[in-house]
């Protein structure tokens, strides 16, 4: 392996190392944004907060993979869609209840008015 290729991989590793350290520092700063304890403000603080949130998601994803529950997450997404459908159907049932109430009202008023004359 020539020295050029070695230098290329060394540069590549260095880039990753610097990026990784930068990201870890951002996650650390973002995680420190607790009540009354913000170290900084402005656009950088927002990026740190976002980095911390992404890191949390990464940990959650690792845990899901370890537990083999990624498929369950998909099932949760399906459940949301089915819940929406269930709600729409339930709302229709509510409307039918309302209509039934109206029919009972009409019937009660007709009965109170006495038999219709032919």
């Amino acid at each position: 392996m020539s020295d050029d290729v070695m230098r290329f991989f060394a540069a590549w590793m260095l880039t990753h190392e610097v990026a990784d350290e930068g990201l870890k520092a951002a996650v650390l700063r973002g995680s420190g944004q607790v009540q009354g304890g913000m170290a900084a403000d402005g656009p950088d603080a927002f990026v740190d907060g976002l980095a911390a949130m992404v890191a949390q998601r990464k940990e959650a994803l690792k845990a899901e993979l370890a537990a083999g529950s990624v498929a369950a997450a998909t099932a949760d997404e399906q459940k949301v869609v089915f819940d929406e459908l269930r709600f729409e159907v339930a709302e229709m049932r509510g409307r039918i209840d309302e209509v039934q109430g109206t029919l009972e009202t009409i019937l009660a008023k007709l009965e109170a008015a006495g038999p219709a004359r032919g």
Binding site: G36, M53, T105
Partner: protein
């Protein structure tokens, strides 16, 4: 021109209150602050004296801090919508007209003593005679306590009649060169919309169902279940909730209610409404919110509800991120997308002043005060002649109210800290949209290259 007796009465009440305002402000010599406070108080008293339409109008003014002076908004916010109750016989007649049956034929029992009596409706207790399957939630078995919210007879006619009178008086006041600074016609239009909605209780019932669905699986939030079989335009039957109002928390504390946890949870629930569901309770005040013995929060009364599209939610998240992270440029840039147009020549000065406001109001140690910041921000925009869309002002006011409600439970709550994870997550999620990636990745790459070769 024919002047009605009602019109003369309204004019007389305003004239009387105006004179009282002049007197209490020492003929304007007591200083601007004293004059404004005195007149705001007299306006509030006039509205209360003139009845339902004006009470409702006052409540609308209280959620429009961007349109009206701060003192007037504060006065209108404390106006209670409570009037002398109607005799039970009148309410029974409405129930009979709506259902063709007496309350006893519809329910296992009905209580003639009202629970509450407001300008538009009166509320009575009852007990279910049969099991009821609500749109969302557990079945309510026979024997479950419910409330009947009944629109007062003549309320619609009185309110709409007063509205017409108010329009006539407004035109007259304009012709005389008064009230130049306030867009009262827009307020009256909005008022008419909201009151017409409120007079049809089925609208509120649908919103309650939707809220119950939005908070499904959330053990800390309760929404009363609706009984559709006995709900019409003029009668709303829903589950009775017991608890403590936020003005009455001493008793709650004695019962071991965890105020801190509920304050944080209540504020979080509001953020979920705004950021996730795009529907939020825009009429929160201590009377519309209960803390229950089960250590939960119960929402009541869904008269005013704000709606937001997905794009609006993302833009609002960006504005809030600007506030949370004290990034004035971001807050203004995304406010523009929500209809807050700052003229190009004023962008620099408004950004600077907003930055100063963020530093002074939200930069201090300890819990930050969103209410003062929010109202200060709206006032800053007004001072620079920037028009503020109604929905934008309503949201700022709602956030400030949520902060107030949460602080009555737990004074040290920091609403900005509650908002932070929501805004960060919503913005983070929006980053993956293909159109945004297409727009931003090229710029991000160029910026990275600029840094590398600098």
């Amino acid at each position: 021109m024919v002047v009605s007796a009602r019109s003369r009465h309204i004019t007389a009440v305003f004239a009387k209150r105006w004179l009282a305002g002049v007197w209490h402000s020492r003929f304007g010599l007591g200083g601007t602050a004293r004059r404004r406070a005195a007149f705001a108080r007299e306006w509030r008293l006039a509205f209360a004296e003139l009845g339902p339409a004006f009470i409702k109008l006052g409540q609308l003014i209280s959620v429009r801090p961007e349109e009206f002076p701060r003192e007037l908004v504060a006065e209108m916010a404390v106006m209670q919508d409570s009037v002398s109750p109607l005799p039970a016989s009148v309410i029974r007649r409405v129930v009979f007209e709506e259902f063709g049956r007496t309350p006893e034929q519809l329910f296992a029992s009905f209580d003639d003593t009202p629970i509450a009596s407001a300008s538009i409706a009166q509320v009575h207790g009852a007990v279910l005679a049969h099991d009821v399957h609500p749109v969302w939630g557990e079945t309510m078995p026979a024997g479950t306590e419910v409330v009947l919210k009944v629109v007062r007879p003549g309320a619609a006619e009185a309110v709409l009649g007063d509205l017409a009178e108010a329009r006539r008086l407004l035109d007259a006041a304009r012709r005389l060169g008064m009230l130049k600074d306030m867009d009262l016609h827009a307020l009256l239009d909005e008022f008419e919309d909201s009151v017409v909605r409120e007079l049809d209780l089925r609208v509120e019932a649908h919103i309650a169902d939707r809220f119950a669905f939005d908070f499904r699986g959330d053990p800390k939030v309760e929404v009363p279940r609706v009984v559709w079989r006995t709900t019409t335009r003029r009668v709303l039957t829903m589950e009775r909730m017991y608890g403590w109002r936020l003005t009455d928390l001493d008793d709650a504390a004695k019962e071991g209610i965890d105020g801190r946890a509920l304050a944080i949870y209540g504020a979080t629930a509001f953020m979920r409404q705004v950021m996730l569901h795009g529907r939020y309770h825009a009429d929160l005040h201590p009377a519309n919110l209960f803390v229950t013995p089960r250590n939960t929060i119960a929402y009541l009364d869904f008269g005013i509800v704000g709606h937001l599209t997905k794009t609006e939610r993302e833009d609002i998240a960006q504005v809030l991120a600007g506030m949370v992270y004290r990034d004035a440029g971001r807050a203004l840039r995304y406010s523009e997308r929500l209809g807050v147009h700052v003229p190009a020549e004023k962008v620099a000065v408004v950004t600077r002043e907003l930055g100063e406001l963020l530093d002074s109001m939200l930069g201090s140690e300890g819990p930050r005060d969103f209410r003062h910041f929010g109202l200060g921000f709206l006032s800053l925009l007004r001072r620079h002649g920037v028009e503020i869309p109604t929905g934008y002002g309503l949201l700022v006011k709602s956030l400030a109210t949520v902060e107030g409600c949460a602080r009555s439970l737990y004074p040290d709550i920091d609403i900005m800290d509650v908002a932070r994870p929501f805004v960060t997550q919503l913005i983070g999620e929006s980053l993956g949209r293909p159109e945004l990636l297409q727009e931003r990745v090229e710029r991000a790459f160029r910026a990275a290259m600029r840094e590398l070769v600098a």
